[in-house]
């Protein structure tokens, strides 16, 4: 952490400290406080960042990512709604594809490997698509959509 210069106030260090903590938490999850710290640091005030909803898309089989994102969002005081991601490995099968009328774009080939769309990519699309539907259904004006692998 950079030391403050003459023009800065002590309060200016708080966002710096938060950023540093968030950076660590993005990789290692929650931090523990040492016993001899009598007073725990103040909790951030919860908000939705001025939008109607903050969505966090998380795959159920990645609780590790969720734990980290939860820790980070709590640290910066962001309230969010968890969106259970559609899992390409478990949710997307022939029935699922037929039921939703999913059809591949005829020309689509993934640029690197020239392969067709994967079940995982369909799951990912559906996770976002469901989120968009939720926005319309609830008549939200503004929302934020986050994937669970960000910092």
């Amino acid at each position: 952490m950079l030391p403050l210069d003459d023009r800065s106030k002590l309060e200016d260090d708080l966002p710096n400290l938060t950023n540093l903590k968030v950076e660590i938490m993005a990789y290692h999850g929650s931090l523990m406080y040492l016993d001899f710290l009598q007073e725990p640091p103040p909790k951030a005030v919860k908000s939705s960042l001025g939008v109607d909803k903050v969505y966090l898309i998380n795959l159920e089989r990645r609780p590790d990512r969720l734990a980290k994102m939860k820790a980070v969002l709590a640290e910066i005081g962001v309230e969010f709604q968890l969106v259970r991601a559609v899992d390409g490995k478990n949710d997307v099968d022939e029935k699922f594809i037929a039921r939703l009328g999913i059809q591949m774009m005829p020309e689509f080939k993934e640029p690197y490997h020239g392969r067709a769309i994967t079940r995982g990519e369909i799951g990912c699309f559906m996770s976002h698509f469901n989120t968009w539907n939720d926005v319309v259904k609830n008549s939200y004006d503004f929302v934020i959509v986050l994937e669970d692998d960000v910092r």
């Binding site: 059809q103 079940r119 995982g120 990912c124 699309f125 986050l146």
Partner: protein, 150 residues
């Protein structure tokens, strides 16, 4: 993330009409992206690869649904650039009618991926899964995988 509040204020100030604002993404190549008029926070977006997070309006959500993308599905990271009409593949674009999503990005980004492809710890949830075959084929074939994610 009080940066978000700053962004709200800024959007009102410059009276920008928008549907989607990327908060973090991965740009494939170093495209020149022009600043939005009167803004030192927002750029016009070019082709964007890998979406991490975005702010979306109700109108934006409607546009993305009304295009009925499930009947011509592509990965969401391709769908968004198609819908804001900056996808380099004209053939793909031609399947979609109303490519009028008003998209911008904050610059510099507010959020970052925890890992980039190939970095230690990188694990893709989508790339390492089975391939769906052509629409009329009733069978899902596994990807002949010559590459392996970590």
């Amino acid at each position: 993330m009080s940066k978000i509040e700053e962004l709200h204020k800024h959007l009102k100030q410059i009276k920008l009409d928008w549907d989607l604002i990327f908060l973090g993404r991965k740009i494939l190549r170093d495209y020149e992206e022009a600043w939005v008029d009167n803004s030192n926070l927002l750029v016009h977006v070019n082709y964007t690869y890998w979406t991490l997070g975005y702010m979306l309006t109700n109108r934006g959500a409607k546009k993305l649904i009304d295009e009925k993308p499930l009947s011509k599905i592509v990965p969401v990271d391709e769908y968004l650039p198609i819908m804001y009409d900056k996808h380099p593949n004209d053939k793909w674009k031609s399947f979609y009618q109303n490519r009028n999503l008003l998209a911008y990005s904050v610059h510099p980004q507010f959020i970052f991926p925890t890992h980039y492809t190939g970095e230690p710890g990188y694990l893709s949830d989508t790339e390492d899964s089975k391939v769906l075959c052509e629409p009329n084929c009733d069978q899902i074939i596994p990807e002949s995988s010559n590459h392996q994610e970590l």
